[in-house]
């Protein structure tokens, strides 16, 4: 039982990270109907920016909460630039092209970003000393002590705060309204005087910023990154988006949590080597049995 609770805690932490990446996929899919294959690599770049700023601020000796806040903002800012540029260069010229063109362009972009970081930062894994250590211990009298580290608490709370801001942004502001309008009908939205291109750009910026936060959490949580982390994390986050119903924002978060839990429990109870297989198998099973996910709208093809 204690082991189960421990896995649950770990799964929720991992799920928060996946959920934040999944929002980027689901938002972009909702608004322009393409799978942004390079999103996983945007997450990887966010992780690198966070790592670099952690090292720089680590030298200055500022208090930890300020460092965390600064790194968060810096990572969001710089990664958002990447998201924006990728959209401008690789996807915008392809709007209205045939269906597979943006996907292939995104694939190319993903290869470019991965190898660019490999060239610029080296191929070796980058280890980082843990910044937030310690935690709360439960069930001290039993055989297995459940530990909830402060880092895990930080990750989950930060995710909840970001989700709150994000939900407010989408449901209550003009920007969110414009975005939802674009999702429903881009032509009509343009006719009503909303700058569709700008709205799409902002979508990419928001998605990339959230991915960069996930990247920062990844650095803190695992303590090691390399240029390749974006691939697996991206696929899993995409699975999460599909599981929750692609295009649905609460769905992305729910899917992220589910994928995080499935992966942790699989690694804890079944087999550690095959934990990535679990994620992919879930993806295949979900797509076959619930192609619209849990909270998605059915997709009707029109002639």
């Amino acid at each position: 039982m204690e082991y189960f609770i421990q896995q649950l805690v770990n799964g929720i932490t991992l799920g928060s990270i996946y959920g934040l990446i999944a929002i980027g996929y689901t938002m972009v899919y909702g608004i322009i109907g393409m799978i942004n294959f390079a999103h996983g690599d945007i997450f990887m770049i966010g992780a690198f920016v966070a790592l670099i700023s952690f090292i720089i601020f680590g030298l200055t000796g500022v208090a930890l909460p300020i460092i965390l806040l600064l790194v968060l903002l810096i990572a969001m800012l710089f990664t958002a630039c990447y998201g924006w540029t990728v959209e401008k260069l690789a996807y915008k010229p392809l709007r209205g092209s045939f269906r597979l063109a943006p996907l292939i362009s995104a694939l190319g972009m993903s290869i470019v970003l991965q190898n660019y970081v490999q060239v610029a930062q080296g191929a070796r894994v980058k280890p980082m000393q843990p910044l937030i250590s310690g935690g709360l211990e439960f069930f001290k009298n039993s055989e297995f002590i459940v530990t909830v580290s402060y880092l895990q608490i930080f990750i989950v709370i930060l995710t909840i705060i970001l989700m709150g801001i994000f939900t407010y942004l989408i449901t209550k502001t003009d920007l969110g309204r414009a975005q939802r309008a674009c999702e429903q009908d881009r032509t009509m939205t343009a006719l009503l005087g909303i700058n569709v291109d700008r709205t799409i750009s902002i979508t990419f910026i928001i998605g990339s910023s959230l991915a960069s936060v996930a990247g920062m959490m990844f650095v803190l949580y695992y303590g090691v990154i390399d240029f390749y982390i974006g691939f697996l994390a991206g696929i899993k986050a995409f699975t999460a988006a599909v599981l929750g119903g692609i295009g649905s924002l609460p769905g992305a978060m729910l899917g992220g949590l589910l994928i995080g839990l499935i992966e942790t429990f699989w690694a804890g109870y079944v087999s550690l080597e095959y934990k990535d297989v679990a994620a992919f198998s879930v993806l295949i099973v979900v797509l076959i049995f619930f192609p619209t996910g849990f909270l998605g709208k059915p997709d009707i093809e029109k002639v």
């Binding site: 920016v49 670099i52 540029t85 996907l103 292939i104 930062q121 980058k126 280890p127 192609p291």
Partner: protein, 422 residues
């Protein structure tokens, strides 16, 4: 050009520079490297300023003569002229290319290195033609094609090392296994729409690779399988000193022993396999099933209403494509004599897809040109190993942006009503 425009484009370039600074600043400018414990940062501002400068200059030049449009028209004019020429002379081109391929090993400048590159290009051409059935004809984007290549290679390696059967028995078996895996995957997932299918096939490719890495008992894990038997020339092995009771190739034909014999044999083997793939594709396009593939690619709903079963039709395309992937895989295994999961990563799938897409989906000649172009270029830049994948990905993006239908956009239907010439 007016003064206002120049100022405007100047501002625009400066903005580009600012963005470039934000992009390259942290990632290129602050290189992390680990020394002992912890990470250190080595600043590289020179490179950053160079890159930012290039971005500003490039943007300014583009703005100045608004080159964007002329560039696009130049590019598409060039390629459409090119595809028109190749279309007109398709037959001549094909015959010349095949003749050249046949005499290639005996040309005076051909050495061992050229042969190796040629074999590699032919392997990719064969894979491209195999995938072209799935992507080009049936319009199903398969990002996990390397899985079938891996299944072919591993089933050949395992059968050949366990039972010691000859290449000519193992080759069809490997193809059958790969086709079986194609059906196994295709059956549940082919109902999915285009981009979902792409991701699922990608996931399948990764599953196969993870299984290959972790299933030690059968695949020997990351160490791979060694000592895969080399093919023999219809029973005559390529050995300097054959075993007792055996005649080797050079003794049988009274030739001086040379390692090139085997290379040349492998070259012809892959050439024949590739041409079989091509011939098969060209023929099957004219059969009802081939027509159904192309019709499905164009309009699935129309096909359904005309009584074509989409799942079965797609499944045949998937299985046949997988079979050719399996053949290519077993050729790869016998050529290398060693295989490991490292050879079957996602990037291989991406390269094959890129070859098909850049060649112009559905065009057989396009696959050849794209293979020669991509593999040849990466071979030329061998010394710049690190940069070649950036160039590769960049080429994918650029071609999609400027010419989304590929270099040879040959998607005209194979049959026209009343023999119309469009």
């Amino acid at each position: 050009m007016e003064k206002k425009d120049i100022i405007q484009s100047f501002k625009d370039s400066l903005f580009t520079g600012l963005i470039a600074l934000a992009l390259f600043g942290p990632i290129v400018g602050l290189r992390t490297s680990s020394k002992g414990e912890g990470l250190f940062i080595t600043p590289q501002w020179g490179v950053v300023f160079l890159l930012v400068g290039l971005c500003i200059l490039g943007r300014f030049l583009i703005n100045l003569n608004s080159a964007r449009k002329t560039e696009i028209t130049f590019f598409s004019k060039f390629t459409s002229k090119f595809s028109a020429i190749t279309e007109d002379k398709a037959k001549h081109f094909a015959i010349t290319a095949i003749l050249f391929a046949v005499v290639f090993p005996f040309l005076p400048f051909t050495d061992r290195y050229f042969m190796d590159v040629a074999i590699m290009i032919l392997t990719y051409i064969m894979l491209g033609w195999g995938l072209n059935i799935v992507v080009g004809l049936a319009g199903l984007l398969d990002l996990g094609y390397v899985a079938f290549y891996a299944v072919g290679a591993y089933s050949y390696a395992l059968i050949a090392t366990t039972f010691g059967w000859s290449f000519w028995i193992c080759l069809p078996l490997a193809g059958v296994f790969a086709a079986f895996f194609g059906i196994l995957l295709g059956f549940p997932v082919l109902r999915l729409r285009g981009d979902y299918l792409a991701i699922v096939t990608l996931g399948f490719g990764e599953i196969i690779r993870i299984i290959l890495i972790n299933w030690y008992e059968v695949t020997n894990g990351p160490d791979g399988i060694t000592g895969i038997p080399r093919p023999s020339f219809f029973g005559l092995p390529f050995k300097r000193s054959p075993d007792e009771g055996e005649t080797s190739f050079h003794l049988f034909f009274n030739l001086e022993y040379s390692t090139m014999h085997r290379i040349i044999f492998l070259y012809y083997l892959i050439l024949v396999l590739a041409l079989i793939t091509n011939y098969f594709t060209l023929k099957i396009r004219k059969l009802p099933v081939g027509r159904a593939w192309e019709a499905l690619r164009e309009d699935e709903i129309a096909c359904k209403s005309l009584g074509v079963n989409p799942t079965n039709t797609k499944l045949t395309a998937f299985a046949i494509g997988a079979m050719f992937g399996g053949f290519a895989g077993s050729f790869f295994a016998t050529r290398q004599a060693f295989i490991s999961p490292e050879s079957f990563t996602f990037i291989e799938s991406a390269i094959i897809v890129a070859i098909v897409v850049l060649g112009g989906m559905g065009s057989q000649t396009g696959v050849v040109l794209a293979s020669i172009f991509l593999i040849g270029i990466t071979e030329m830049f061998r010394d710049l190993e690190q940069y070649r994948m950036i160039a590769f990905g960049g080429a994918m993006v650029l071609i999609m942006v400027f010419k989304p239908k590929g270099i040879l956009a040959n998607r005209k239907p194979t049959i026209l009503m009343h023999g119309d010439k469009k």
